[in-house]
């Protein structure tokens, strides 16, 4: 039995460090994407026609095209401006660093998907409560903080959890486009490298899949706890469930 599991455990040990790169990509892009998405959602709901249509267009473009193409496009765009812009400014090492560019493109992508989720939630915030807040004489920012925001985040949380899991899965694509510097390999790189050594596809890809599965479940667990906190005042709240809604 131990002989059977030894190669898998060995693989899991080798893949622990590469998994950190996937986790890093997700961790670096999620907070940026979250904040930008809130503004993007408010922008889409804005009464200013220009702001609203710009946000609408951004969300549509990023949700309507594959992340793989977005990665390629922004990477080649960054490369094209290297000689004329980044090099003279002396920031080419930062802009073209995959550890910076990767999260940046991921953040642009998740902003669009999350904004659509937040926008949907924003539309379902109970109108009466907002009107009551206005009747109390609250300013717009007070209305947002005490009425709109708590509803928005609670309504959006289940869908946002799924988006975070999908974003984590999307980190697998980053190094298919961006250059791998030294030993900054992620799970897919390392699984591919191990495969080329002994051609054992089932073992190495299963080990990588286990990491993705385990981290996805961990995300669900943590986000589920947050959801329980967000809905603590609601009797009979539905617990978080794994759903499909990225599209």
């Amino acid at each position: 039995m131990t002989d059977l599991f030894a190669p898998l455990l060995n693989d899991l040990a080798i893949l622990a460090r590469p998994a950190l790169f996937n986790i890093y990509f997700a961790f670096a892009s999620i907070p940026i994407g979250f904040v930008l998405a809130i503004f993007m959602a408010l922008g889409k709901a804005s009464r200013n026609a220009l702001v609203s249509s710009l946000c609408r267009g951004y969300i549509y473009a990023f949700r309507g095209s594959p992340f793989f193409i977005q990665l390629f496009m922004f990477y080649s765009l960054a490369l094209a401006f290297n000689l004329s812009l980044w090099k003279p400014l002396g920031i080419d090492g930062i802009v073209l660093n995959p550890l910076v560019l990767g999260p940046a493109i991921l953040a642009l992508n998740t902003t669009a998907y999350s904004a659509e989720i937040f926008y949907g939630a924003l539309m379902t915030v109970p109108r009466g409560e907002v009107e009551a807040a206005r009747a109390f004489g609250m300013t717009r920012s007070q209305q947002f903080r005490s009425v709109v925001w708590p509803h928005l985040i609670r309504l959006a949380w289940p869908a946002y959890t799924n988006e975070v899991v999908f974003l984590f899965h999307a980190t697998a694509l980053v190094y298919f486009t961006l250059p791998v510097i030294d030993d900054q390999k992620d799970l897919m790189n390392m699984a591919g490298e191990l495969f080329e050594k002994d051609y054992n596809a089932v073992l190495h890809f299963s080990a990588a899949a286990l990491y993705f599965l385990a981290i996805s479940l961990a995300i669900f667990l943590v986000f589920g706890l947050v959801y329980r906190h967000l809905t603590r005042h609601m009797p009979g709240a539905v617990p978080l469930r794994f759903r499909m809604n990225r599209s």
Binding site: Y60, A61, R63, G64, S65, P66, F67, F68, I69, Q70, F72, M73, S76, L77, L79, A80, H169, A170, A172, L173, F176, M188, A191, G192, F195, D198, Y199, A201, V202, F205, A208, A209, F212, L213, S216, L217, F242, R243, M244, N245, R246, S247
Partner: protein, 282 residues
């Protein structure tokens, strides 16, 4: 390509435009345009496979036999827990190795096995060379398996959304169990499944951008080749790095496909919902 234009038209449009027209219709660009066929084929056949897998998965998920339900739930959750790209790369590799392993039992001689010990394939004779058609077929199947899991959860949900009363009424009219399933349950399921299936189709469309990872010369691979800095010894630098422009074209292409798909699905939803009293089906 431009030779077919009559002389007066060539004079009319001017040398600059004529040059660019010629450039964008040269052999490599025409190959690029033609490679759209792989993307579209993968999307269509991948979606068909996904639909079949989705129906099978939903049938398992809602089966009365306990272990079948477990298999259904396992399929739906396992495939969704890992990135599509991982399965997309893994399945063709694993399938190729399986075929080579089976073939090795028949064709390998002891000498051949000894020569390839510790390597793959087990012996040279068992090697299966995969060309574009084979990879494309495998890509369709792996797209079908991955997105079949998504489709399965959509269809399984939609099956449960059909009003019980409709099925009870059908049964009361004396329809057999199979008739109730095919003529009422599945017939009415589509209207509830369509919004979700439309999402799955959009996911499949976007996943077709991964074809180049399986050595298929699709639109992404050609965009990379055409846009890369072009340097020849006789002409010098023909053009610098234009890749971002080519990728921008691909981005617009995918957005257009998404836009068209939305329109088509809206029409199909209207058609499927005709005569049904479903409040706000989309």
């Amino acid at each position: 390509m431009l030779d077919i234009l009559p002389q007066w038209m060539k004079d009319g449009i001017g040398d600059d435009l004529l040059f660019w027209l010629g450039y964008f219709t040269n052999g490599k660009h025409l190959t690029w345009y033609a490679s759209v066929q792989y993307t579209l084929a993968a999307a269509l056949f991948g979606a068909l496979t996904a639909l079949v897998m989705g129906l099978a998965g939903a049938a398992l998920r809602n089966a009365r036999f306990g272990p079948a339900r477990l298999v259904g739930a396992l399929y739906i959750n396992m495939v969704r827990g890992v990135p599509d790209v991982l399965f997309f790369l893994f399945f063709p590799l694993a399938f190729e190795q399986l075929v080579e392993l089976i073939r090795a039992q028949a064709v390998c001689t002891p000498e051949g096995l000894a020569a390839n010990a510790g390597q793959w394939p087990p012996c040279d004779a068992a090697n299966w060379f995969l060309g574009t058609p084979e990879y494309l077929a495998l890509a369709c199947v792996s797209l079908g398996i991955v997105y079949g899991a998504f489709a399965a959860s959509v269809i399984s949900g939609a099956m449960n959304a059909v009003p019980r009363g409709q099925l009870e009424a059908a049964r009361a009219f004396g329809f057999s169990r199979a008739q109730v399933l095919w003529r009422f349950h599945i017939r009415q399921m589509w209207i509830y499944a369509l919004p979700g299936l439309s999402n799955v189709w959009m996911l499949i469309i976007k996943a077709t951008s991964l074809l180049s990872l399986l050595q298929i010369a699709d639109i992404v691979l050609w965009a990379d080749r055409l846009g890369a800095p072009n340097f020849t010894r006789s002409a010098g630098l023909v053009h610098p790095d234009w890749r971002w422009g080519y990728y921008l074209v691909l981005l617009v292409f995918y957005i257009l496909v998404t836009f068209l798909s939305e329109k088509v699905f809206a029409a199909v939803t209207r058609w499927a919902g005709r005569g049904m009293s479903v409040a706000n089906p989309a």
